[in-house]
Assembly symmetry: C2
Homo-oligomer: 106 residues x 2
DNA sequence: TTATTAAATCAAAATAAATTGATATAAGGA
DNA sequence: TCCTTATATCAATTTATTTTGATTTAATAA
């Protein structure tokens, strides 16, 4: 079987789905957010506000974009919301070199 | 030396530069273009117009965005322009799984 | 119950990106 | 030279995204 034609995951690539993920990653603030979640692990919004130095509503907006793109997870505990990286998805998209920026210990 | 702290390429990541590249990849038509260049290698604009089925000025616009993001190369021969993938950059950004969609034989 | 805090949502304004059709440039051939 | 073809650019419009500050929702504590 030819190495070139056996591209299991490569047939009929879903460009729309990938474009959505790349769009979510197309903003420096959102990359910084992913980076923070990568370094700190699951993090409360209240801590992200402090670290990111942007208005709370803006942070909320950017988190939602990352969440909708399936790049991060959300978990609510009482009044607090914790966000974390979706490492599986991230490592399926990005190179090792970039994963090492955006996902922990890889 | 710790594996975790030796992240040569990972210190002070340039989020702006990466965001630009992701923005260039944030459109299905542009991903399709990258995919075509990946499959066909260096390709003339006139052939891309046929394959992509979009107006010429639109194609020109999208090619320029990919070129400015350093994701593709351009070479002019007489009246014709040939575009090709910047495989180095692509493989430094994307996972193997995605490279196999967007860059040849990897 | 009232007050406080955390986080999401909303509407308006500002900014940016994409689309369109027309025009410009420039190379090559008749 | 004149015509044709290839590609890029332009200006106007449309569409999408981001920003802002105010408001809402909901949990907890006093």
């Amino acid at each position: 079987m030819s190495l070139v034609t056996d591209q299991s995951s490569c047939t009929s690539p879903n460009f729309v789905t990938y474009a959505e993920k790349f769009k979510a990653m197309s903003d420096p603030k959102r990359l910084e957010l992913l980076h923070l979640l990568c370094i700190n692990g699951s993090t409360c919004v209240c801590d992200l506000v402090d670290e990111m130095n942007i208005p709370q509503s803006k942070l909320s907006y950017h988190l939602k974009i990352l969440l909708n793109a399936d790049l991060i997870f959300k978990e609510t505990k009482g009044t607090w919301s914790y966000y974390s990286l979706n490492e599986d998805v991230m490592s399926r998209i990005l190179s090792r070199e970039l994963c090492c920026i955006l996902t922990p210990s890889s």
